[in-house]
Symmetry: D2
């Protein structure tokens, strides 16, 4: 009967990963690099199209409010509904009132999606990521077809993939000092110093191993195509609830990458008495120094990152396309 329950739970998890959701879309947020001129023009066109054809609220970056190129006044003149429906977001708003937004549209590359994860440190609305050039790992919708894609979203609903994030808490000098949500990875490395202290890795408060290496990567499945892959980690499908532990240039030949269950509470510490410090970085953005006795805890977040999928084979297509995973070059035959 335990087996039956377990099988049932597994079945449930499978269905959750594949459900099509009909969302009542009344408000959409657009994230992009606000300083890029061509992106300002695209943002304006997209916002106008959404307001005109769908009559919904559109939040754009507050930095555009006074942009001449964005020309908000011109929008109001052209479309009266923009008076109420064109709104502005700030990082403060996304952090505190994520429930305001039914959908996030990103224009740009994978970096823009990572930035969106930073904006929403708690609940994240579903994110549909448009690519402006080649499709990436996370940017799986071509902007050239954006009207087609968006009409489908409005009319048929969306399939989403709940991508795991980590909640990382930094403990320095005996106190918790900072907490970050990451969608790719946390890296603890030697930073500017030529030597790293030995690190200690704990799982559920048991010592798993002592790490002598350039550093240690704890990666989500989403991050398994990023730094972890460069350091020799395996590719991990985003539906798998696992944490990749990948050492960077380890001193032992036997330190093979390991996947741990996402139910495990991980802790990486700089042991007491260590002479050198270590540096933690979070999705490659923030850098925090860890001294002797300091540590970081890492757990699967309660706030996953829901991405809209383009099809059932999204992931395989992304790794084939972007990494050339097992792609053989076509040889030119003789004619």
């Amino acid at each position: 009967s335990l087996v039956q329950t377990a099988t049932g739970v597994r079945e449930l998890a499978k269905r959750i990963g594949q459900a099509t959701i009909k969302v009542d879309l009344r408000s959409v947020l657009i994230v992009t690099k606000a300083r890029d001129n061509s992106l300002i023009v695209l943002t304006r066109q997209l916002a106008m199209w959404l307001i005109k054809t769908r009559g919904i609220c559109v939040y754009v970056d507050a930095k555009l409010r006074l942009s001449k190129r964005f020309n908000a006044e011109g929008m109001l003149a052209e479309e009266p509904r923009a008076e109420t429906n064109l709104r502005y977001w700030t990082p403060e708003l996304t952090r505190t009132m994520p429930d305001l937004f039914d959908l996030v549209l990103t224009l740009g590359g994978d970096g823009t999606v990572l930035y969106t994860s930073w904006l929403f440190q708690r609940i994240v609305p579903p994110v549909l990521a448009f690519s402006l050039g080649s499709l990436g790992f996370l940017t799986n919708f071509a902007y050239t077809d954006h009207e087609l894609h968006l009409n489908r979203v409005f009319d048929e609903g969306i399939n989403i993939n709940l991508r795991m994030r980590f909640t990382c808490s930094v403990h320095k000098g005996g106190h918790q000092t900072e907490t970050f949500e990451v969608i790719n990875e946390i890296v603890i490395d030697r930073g500017p110093s030529p030597w790293i202290s030995m690190l200690e890795l704990y799982g559920n408060n048991h010592l798993l191993t002592k790490v002598q290496a350039d550093g240690l990567i704890l990666s989500t499945p989403t991050g398994s195509t990023a730094y972890s892959l460069s350091a020799g980690g395996s590719l991990v499908h985003p539906e798998i609830p696992a944490i990749s532990v990948t050492p960077i240039c380890p001193h032992t030949l036997s330190f093979r990458p390991m996947l741990l269950p996402d139910s495990m509470l991980l802790k990486v510490s700089v042991p007491g008495g260590a002479r050198n410090t270590a540096w933690a970085s979070f999705d490659g953005r923030h850098r925090v120094e860890l001294r002797s006795g300091d540590y970081v805890t890492v757990t699967a977040s309660q706030y996953p990152f829901p991405t809209v999928t383009a099809g059932p084979m999204d992931y395989i297509e992304a790794v084939s396309r972007t990494l050339k995973w097992n792609v053989r070059e076509q040889q030119k035959p003789f004619k």
Copy 2:
């Protein structure tokens, strides 16, 4: 709310993996190599101890029924309860009536545990694996302390780990010919032929990739410490519901091992028109030739393999002990 459901399901899965179960143990089955003389003596002692001190039924290998060394008659003379409580199992019985047994005890090495998986092709009772020498991956209880361990099992209950198995179905000439439950891996390789055909790997009926390699390993988490590891795969904790796809000597540099969710139906086929055949093997035991058009399907089994755990860090201790995972040799200091 989808997120909340998903979080709830994850929490549920976590608890299932850690529950202590009080089992009403009335019947125990002992698996060992029946032809090894020293093991016959141990089996006899263990059976007697279980019947005498706990008064339960003990099933031993039917090959021992007439063994002089086992001396069943002597047991009856010494302990009258053996008349009813000493029973004999056959592969037929384990296959058809697995519910007869509340617990399986194995004496030997990891191979004996693999053999137990073969005996129980459907429902598997909890398995407690004793090692007679060094502890292995699966043999995590030292036989030297068997009375201590068994008394704890009777008095306090057991923690079990539901290890994933695969259900592998062979399709030849358009018909399903055989089905195997494996606990380590299925390997499709070139067998005796010097060349392999290209293989095709499908997930949920979509082509994932074409494989040009010496072979392909589809491994459970349990099997991630076996052949998959030799071929470059990562270590995967047994609680993770993932299938490792590991190529053997692939022709492309980019064919990095990949983990797929266990909800995916995998299929490996020899494409139509292929000149060479491939060979599938199941836990290293059975070998089946696959010709052009033949294929094997692989899914997470409904019948996992429940193993009794020795402690919360069982897995890490096993890989440290057995693989020397990231174990640094102590250097002799100067005195």
Copy 3:
């Protein structure tokens, strides 16, 4: 002074690897797949061009002597010098009288070059390898420009690269039974049997290591882009006098590939008392069973394989082109 001598020797080796040689070309041998119709036509055109424009002797495959498509009689009618200058080679002739040929031209792919190495088991004339489609590792001249390339060879000379070959001797039942020259690798693996015996690897008659693996690859620098690479070996520039030792799916995590000096005499043996046999194969062609007590010796051959180079960066261009070594896909930018 020892250091000075060593430096001098190194300098000498360097110059040998880079010399331009003016060859007095009076006789050329053409190797191709004699059964491929389009190749027969090309062979005929090439032979005619060489006889007509350069007046030299051309040896073609004796299988073409009676080929209607090759039409030797028509050649004689068209060009009287063909009477004396069109000649035929057989494997017997290449084996026994390699000095007859000043240059070998191969038409085809890398396989045709490997076949040429088999034809010349002792001294090998310089080999210029034409590719009919994409350039390969060894086929570094495009046939579409063959007149240009050949005129340069006649007028300016050639640069050659002396590619190391191995002399492999098989010892069975106490006697040396066969000897092979290989240009890529010798592989000792489990062949058709599901299990391999442990192998023993000796260097200069000292035991280097015991091998528990699917097999062992001993590779020349030329072979480092072939099977050794699939098994995890490094790329080795063909000018380096080293033997790559690469295990196939080893049982220990620490069995990292190793390069040994080509001055070392290697021996791979199946130890006495082994239950299973092993199989040796030579450039993927010949397969020899090794039983308990049998062994193979491997040394750098006295008969290297001289290939004509297309330029100083030949090797790097070949690995970039063929393996996509560190080639980044160009991402399509947004327009």
Copy 4:
């Protein structure tokens, strides 16, 4: 005949690598960590033994001249020959007058041998490395048997291995600023900055590849057991004249480590227009920042590092002992 010359050169190289040299030992230099008290005592004992039993000159670190623990006056009192035969070395002396010393003895670990390489930036006397604890890669003589080993050296001569060093020249702002001899490796990495510029790797002034990675390691055979190994490089026997190119966490899956001939002039540059700097370090000691346009050249040094070998299988024994290369743990059998 080219082949014959090449074979002769190879044979010559082989003999140089294996010659036993009878050295007329009149002066020995001892290198150790001068601040370690126990080492001071050992240095004193060793110097006295050499002066008393062999009557040769012994150079010790000039820092010991006034050390109470070393007690040079006591030595003079005990052994009058110490008056002339006990001498002191300074880094200045080793740099400018290396010919003064017939043999260097190091007491300590591999770090002390690396330090010796730094002391002798041009000609290096033969180095015999004593280990005070476990033997290391370079410290292949146990100090506990030092009298035995030294008597053999005096009476029978030594075998030496000429370990390749690199001459690395730093070019900044259009000028050569520094030159280092390294015995392990030169590393170019991102240093303290979170991002690295793309690097360019040139061989003989041809672009070999553009490097997007955490860094790049150019390693000697001696260094192949150090950082290069951690980054995934192969083990390279010290007699092989090759340069290992090993990327650190490369961005492409196809950037496999490559071995280049030591006759090649390598150059690593930070391309013009790069936004970030890179950092070069030499045997892990010195750190130099490279800005846009700066570069480092690397060539096989004219000044190799001659180490005294303990036996013909020195290298294999060292990697087995120190790296546990393909060493299988003995499993405890059942008794």
